[in-house]
């Protein structure tokens, strides 16, 4: 509906280029939101993804500047490995120090950003410093879909299968549902939570490389504030903030929805500040609906059980 209204008011919105831009804009948030969903499902949160993205994106720019002939695939591998290391730091601090993830990743948000600042200083790398083949990842399309969007869809499908159909994936839900019970039950809680953080880091690393492909400049402030968009996307997509339920498909749709709304509001020339307020309303609405549904479900179960007595 939103899309239709916007398209009638601003016909540019639904042109092939407009749709392509929309998908491109969503891609990076989608990938980050998948990683975030994995972490939130275990009743944790990763606030450092924006900083990880910034650090890895700058690293990607640096790689191309220093080794101009470096194979693109190697850049992806290095970027994801770098993200994995940063995610592992989060995971180790959360599982070993047993400090809530909110605090730990708030800390690493600033630490990673600080490192990024110190490393980059005033330096910025521009698309012109990178090979054309790398940038074309974000411009080339197959059947109208940008390459990197297809990549994001592949990631969604892959992670969704892992979450729904592997024991490790189901363990994440169990852990988020009741961490104490999971421990009593013998589920390897530490290993799984660590794994979720590493996965979130890897995906943030992947998103960062794609970011460097998509956008012109990477520098000290790349990705600042992105973590909140990502958490919002996951929550709007139905990932329960207290863990235990939600899907990565939901998180991906949430990311797409948020991006669409932001783009639509921009296309409608709504003030930037109002856009943020609308996103806020959406988050609260999503959580309220979630709460209502679960209250309703609980009531129904109560009624049906009362009949059994």
């Amino acid at each position: 509906m939103l899309v239709v209204v916007t398209a009638t008011i601003n016909p540019l919105f639904l042109t092939p280029q407009g749709v392509k831009d929309l998908l491109l804009n969503a891609t990076i948030v989608v990938i980050l939101a998948i990683g975030q969903a994995l972490v939130i499902i275990t009743r944790n949160v990763d606030l450092s993804v924006g900083s990880i993205l910034g650090l890895v994106a700058f690293g990607t720019g640096t790689l191309f500047a220093v080794y101009p002939g470096i194979p693109i695939i190697l850049v992806f591998v290095i970027g994801m490995a770098f993200g994995a290391v940063l995610g592992a730091v989060n995971g180790l601090l959360v599982t070993i120090a047993k400090v809530p993830a909110l605090v730990i990743t708030l800390g690493t948000l600033y630490i990673y950003r600080g490192v990024n600042n110190a490393w980059a200083g005033g330096t910025q790398y521009f698309a012109g410093d990178r090979p054309r083949a790398f940038s074309s990842l974000s411009t080339d399309t197959i059947f109208g879909f940008p390459l990197i969007t297809l990549l994001a869809i592949a990631v969604v499908v892959g992670v969704a299968i892992v979450l729904a159909y592997t024991r490790a994936g189901r363990d994440l839900y169990a852990i988020g549902s009741d961490p104490a019970a999971a421990r009593l039950f013998g589920i390897p809680v530490t290993r799984r939570v660590l794994g979720a953080f590493v996965a979130s880091g890897v995906l943030a690393g992947l998103a960062a490389v794609l970011y460097a492909s998509r956008f012109n400049a990477v520098g000290a402030t790349t990705g600042t504030g992105l973590e909140l968009d990502v958490v919002a996307a996951a929550v709007v997509g139905g990932v329960a903030i207290f863990g235990g339920s939600g899907t990565v498909v939901g998180a991906a749709i949430g990311a797409l929805l948020l991006t669409t709304i932001t783009s639509a509001l921009t296309a409608l020339r709504v003030d930037k500040f109002w856009q943020q307020a609308i996103v806020g309303v959406l988050i609260i609405a999503a959580i309220s609906v979630d709460r209502l549904v679960s209250l309703n479900r609980a009531r129904k179960l109560r009624v049906s059980e009362a009949r059994n007595v």
Binding site: R167, R170, G176, A181, G186, P188, A298
Partner: protein, 507 residues
């Protein structure tokens, strides 16, 4: 004192002289138990006797500091619960440990879901297996529903289904019946017996002697973290077991004092709440203890909550000394002289992180305050006074309530309300999960209160408690009052009949 009689069988599980200390606190000094294949073994002892610690050692949750642990005669050592589970030991804890967001089937098979093509989980196989399992158990639980909202009884059944599907050789249950009603207990026991007949060894903890004697083949008694004795059930009496548990004789378990009964203080008329209870009318007089009996789920707690103003009601009225109470307003209920000791003291009766003092004086914040600020010294004096009067066993009244045993926590809840000088006290399952020694103290306290002219409404699922304590017994069934029985006429059969009657006859 008898030692375990070794039959020809090698114990499937044996633990000798295990110890476990947490810092300076020795929770277990001599943990000894032998479980034979095909026996039901009861473990009894007061709270704090080390039963739960012993179970957690067997479950691999705690690693013992010393001791000899054998399975099938071979020494073993468990580092994690997963090790214990792999060895065929299945534990059902006091509070069921289900994952509320997962489906019932998944709860049973988590961590070992059946895998199909490509190593991925086969949901259809899992569902079919779970359905088969519930069919053998004869319970109608939908394996596809999520676990949130299941009754405690159903949660226990699922825990058992889990144990069966694990092909557990040893099933350990920590107070499995604490929250169950009679019918549900029978169903649970039926399952336990059939497991035994298939050769599994079963260990269960219980505070209910009728269960211990009705179900078990052998009984092990623990006291103060140490093994006392193991008996063959047929050759020992309740009295002997109680003596070993407390290390002394308990003269009277239910020390009911005769009190002068005065005028009605609490009057409930035609109270109803759609779908929960209806047409509830009764009086409680000064100095009287009225027992409210019935099966779990009969609506007793709901009535208490409505009277106290926590929940709304649609019809009827509640009066204290002839003055109507405002519905849905606990503050005015407290002002009118009502106190409620809730069923779940951990979640509703106490703030676990706060000190004994703070908890005991929580209801008196306004009275203790001067210019809107609470005086720490007065708070302290009052808290200390009450914990002394109720003999709360704590190293210091400044320690968090969470560090106390269940019985002592209950005393703190009582202190909290007694400090307000109430006229009516509603106690909901006052001795659930409390060991026998403290139980008698709680009973004495309640009886003492009635003696001082307080009107007491006592909800209890334990028949001996109701029969022993109450001057009058109200019985509820499916949201209605079905009988009022005087102390002199009350028998266990009459109460149970009133509580269950139509349940048998309805299709």
């Amino acid at each position: 004192m008898t030692t375990p009689t070794l039959a020809d069988d090698i114990p499937v599980l044996e633990l000798h002289h295990a110890s476990k200390a947490f810092g300076a606190v020795v929770a277990l000094s001599d943990g000894t138990i032998e479980i034979l294949p095909g026996e039901i073994h009861a473990l009894v002892g007061e709270n704090g006797a080390g039963k739960s610690t012993l179970i957690k050692v067997l479950a691999g949750v705690h690693r013992p500091d010393s001791g000899d642990f054998r399975l099938d005669g071979k020494p073993v050592s468990f580092g994690t619960p997963a090790d214990s589970k792999a060895a065929g030991i299945s534990v059902i804890y006091q509070e069921p440990t289900l994952f509320p967001d997962l489906t019932v089937a998944e709860n049973i098979y988590i961590g070992r879901q059946p895998r199909g093509r490509g190593g991925l989980i086969s949901r259809s196989t899992m569902r079919a297996e779970a359905t088969k399992l519930f069919a053998t158990l004869g319970v109608p639980i939908d394996p596809e529903r999520i676990a949130a909202g299941l009754s405690i009884a159903d949660q226990q059944i699922i825990e058992i289904a889990k144990a069966i599907s694990l092909d557990a050789r040893v099933l350990i249950m920590d107070e499995p019946t604490a929250a169950l009603s009679g019918v549900e207990v029978e169903r649970l026991f039926g399952v336990a017996r059939s497991l035994r007949d298939r050769g599994a060894g079963i260990l269960f903890i219980s505070h209910r002697f009728d269960e211990v004697f009705g179900l078990s083949d052998r009984i092990t008694v623990m006291r103060d973290g140490a093994f006392i004795a193991t008996h063959t059930t047929g050759s020992v009496t309740v009295d002997a077991i109680v003596r070993e548990m407390v290390g002394r004789d308990i003269s009277a378990l239910f020390p009911k004092e005769e009190a002068v009964i005065g005028d009605p203080v609490l009057s409930v008329r035609g109270l109803g709440r759609a779908g929960v209870f209806s047409d509830i009318s009764f009086d409680v007089r000064a100095g009287e203890i009225v027992g409210l009996a019935g099966l779990v789920g009969a609506g007793r707690t709901e009535v208490a909550r409505a009277i106290f103003g926590i929940d709304r009601y649609d019809a009827g009225s509640v009066e204290v000394n002839g003055v109507p109470l405002r519905p849905h307003d606990p503050q005015s209920a407290i002002t009118a002289g009502l106190g409620l000791v809730p069923e779940d003291r951990r979640k509703q009766g106490l703030v676990m992180e706060l000190s004994v003092t703070r908890n005991a004086t929580l209801t008196l914040r306004t009275a203790l305050a001067r210019f809107g600020l609470i005086s720490g010294a007065r708070e302290h004096a009052l808290g200390e006074d009450w914990s002394r009067r109720l003999q709360v066993k704590t190293a210091s009244p400044d320690l968090p309530v969470a560090t106390l045993s269940g019985g002592n926590q209950q005393k703190v809840v009582l202190a909290k309300w007694l400090a307000t000088d109430p006229q009516v006290l509603i106690v909901d399952e006052p001795t659930r999960g409390i060991d026998i020694g403290t139980k008698a103290e709680v009973h004495r306290l309640i009886s003492d209160l009635a003696g001082r002219g307080i009107a007491v409404l006592m909800i209890s699922s334990e028949l001996p408690e109701v029969l022993g304590m109450a001057d009058r017994i109200l019985v509820m069934r499916e949201g209605r009052l079905t009988a009022t029985i005087d102390r002199t006429d009350a028998t266990a059969e009459r109460v149970m009949f009133a509580a269950t009657e139509t349940l048998e006859s309805t299709p």
